[in-house]
């Protein structure tokens, strides 16, 4: 019989994620005592939505741990593409934060396209670029001929709407990145 489900019904084995793995992402530890009940109720009522920002913070923490264990929910390794659904975007707003969490949870190499899958079509929102980094605290990034120095250790977003753009990070060869509504997310964290 049809029924309302939700993003959380796609996650396997949520009950097996150690609570400490989820709670480490929370700014406040107030909710830790009731965190196991929270996760269990999410599994029981996956269609429910968080009302408060602190509940949303917990949902993001659960999502982060779930996709670390099941990256195929959002990432196709064979196509090197992040696929996000309209349902995911409306359930985990804002979009920038959602993508930030995905970048930090899924192991991506090179240039991965970000594609939004809607009911009738797909849209390229941009791309994530993760390349080997040189020594030092800063790296030179050239985007569409424009050079900038960015701090190593962070994830940065460059808002570019052009569908394709040339990009060079440090001494790496020139690559072609994809722009769009989101732009180019450059992962400058050392791994």
């Amino acid at each position: 019989m049809p029924k309302l489900t939700g993003i959380f019904s796609n996650f396997k084995d949520l009950d097996k994620i150690p609570i400490a793995d989820i709670s480490r992402w929370l700014k406040s530890q107030d909710k830790v005592r009731t965190l196991e009940d929270f996760v269990a109720n999410r599994m029981l009522y996956p269609q429910t939505v968080p009302i408060t920002s602190s509940d949303m913070e917990v949902d993001f923490a659960i999502f982060r741990e779930a996709i670390t264990r099941q990256p195929n929910l959002v990432y196709s390794e064979s196509q090197n593409t992040i696929f996000i659904t309209h349902e995911l975007v409306i359930r985990f707003p804002p979009l920038d934060k959602l993508l930030n969490v995905i970048v930090k949870s899924v192991s991506i190499r090179g240039v991965a396209k970000i594609v939004l899958k809607e009911q009738k079509n797909t849209n390229v929102l941009g791309s994530i670029v993760s390349l080997p980094l040189p020594q030092g605290d800063q790296v030179t990034v050239v985007v569409g001929g424009k050079s900038m120095n960015l701090k190593v250790g962070i994830v940065d977003i460059i808002h570019i709407t052009k569908p394709k753009i040339d990009l060079k990070i440090g001494e790496n060869p020139l690559v072609m990145a994809y722009g769009g509504k989101v732009g180019v997310i450059i992962d400058l964290r050392r791994k």
Partner: protein, 378 residues
Amino acid sequence: MNLYETSISANMRPRILRNRFVHVKRVILGLGKILVKTGTEVQPEDVIGRSNFTPGFFAINIAQKLGVRPSEGLKFLQRPLGKAIYTGELLAFKKNFLGKKVVTSPTDGLIEFYDAKTGDLRLKYLPKEVPLASGVYGCVDYVDPIKGEVLIKAMVTEVLGVFGSGKERNGLLRVLSLDGLVQKDQINDEGRQHVLVVGSVLYADVLKKAVGYGVTGIITGGINARDFKSMGVSIDPRRRIGSDIGVSVVATEGFGHSPIGEDLANVFKEYEGKFVFINGNISQIILPSNSSDSILALRKIYLPVTRAPIVPPEVSLGGVSVGTQIRIIWPPYFGAHGKVVAVDKTVTVLESGIATFLLTVETPKQKIKVPYPNVEII
């Protein structure tokens, strides 16, 4: 988004199903005899079977009580191994210049075995004749004399929770609390063979004590997820086949602290002291009709006898509009019941960033606004 272009739906979960016709299973314990046949009409107090049942063993450390080495305990036994002994009779005796020590039997039993390494004497409880009462008004539809099973067609009220664990069991219903916290010292021998209603949350210490005292079932508003997992039970609603920890548990609302909903609380109050069936694995409680008139209705009903596993009614999708009765399934107001008095025509962006339609719900205490995905239709 405009309401007129979008219809509001929510999940509909059946909680109380009245005047249902089901087969209830009654099984004799141990070896025995079924006394009824197919077609017999029965009342709750009717004995439908008898069996001889040995409820297990009891151990008493003779050596410790006599103050002797375990290897020497056997020689002080006053009744040989293999013989019966009754409560209060002399079991072991030692006398010397320091005085005497007497051990009497704490129970009726068969002196079965003495362990010379530990000093434990094992007594097997004597078999008792146990009558099996019908427990329900109904018609016998099927008898299996080899398995000692009887299926009785009965008219019942079916109560469905949201989560549970444990096989089908039965017992007299006792309400300890509907919305408070039951402590472990409230669980005692009076709960044996009972199905207890324990209030708003179930913790492991209460659960373990209930198992120890032979409580057959526990009904609670909420379950503490951490404690439940520590008992080896999966809390994934998709993996609930065949778990059993020695007692059947049904949660009516969810996980964490949540009073039993008013709708179910009223039913449990109505059935206090009555014989009920509980199946934790499908979160089901069967409350047989208290009226002998139910047999009149049963005579007109044909219910095929089947060995197929029971499938609980599914959660389905229903429309939400003004007047719909709902239950709130996410904090705040988790577990509250009310009626929808208004449906917003435009979306609201919540503090969490989620954009959704809100419902105005009137509960017995107040009017509140709730996102529509956070309710279930009842």
